[in-house]
Symmetry: C2
Subunit: 91 residues, 2 copies
């Protein structure tokens, strides 16, 4: 499923760590917004790693599920089309 992850993290060091982690799970589409095309197991893994980095309630991080048939309804002004994980794995 395509997950949209958006965050507000005031501390630069922590924000960079979160961004770095998310880069391993999906694509950065805006400064603090990532699109991650993940199966449930990968999403659960991502969540558990994110939680360890977050400082609540100071930080805010939201994950939105974009169910498959909603992908065509995504509206994009400026920037890339919605992310789709490659079906192949380069070995």
């Amino acid at each position: 499923m395509l997950w949209l992850v958006a965050y507000d993290i005031p501390v630069t060091k922590r924000r960079n760590k979160i961004a770095k982690l998310l880069l391993g799970y999906g694509k950065r589409v805006q400064y603090s917004v990532f699109e991650c095309d993940l199966d449930d197991e990968k999403f659960q893994q991502l969540k558990s790693r994110l939680v360890k980095l977050l400082q609540l309630p100071e930080d805010s991080l939201r994950c939105y599920p974009l169910i498959e048939n909603s992908r065509p309804k995504i509206v994009v002004y400026g920037g890339d089309e919605p992310y789709k994980a490659p079906d192949y794995i380069v070995v």
Copy 2:
């Protein structure tokens, strides 16, 4: 339907105009992320007003549809629960 609107707008004046417009259609949940609970007519109206303010490709604005049954799957760390427009109208 709940729409998630996220933007990256480098020019402060324009960014403030977009935020002000969005405040009339939903709730700010992060610095540049809004949740808007809108019927289709209202969403089309919002889009046409947004497009007039945007400066492409410099600006980036994305609208994601969150289909009703995906609302319970939204993951929130820090910040408010997902926005639900009030069913009543104060007259």
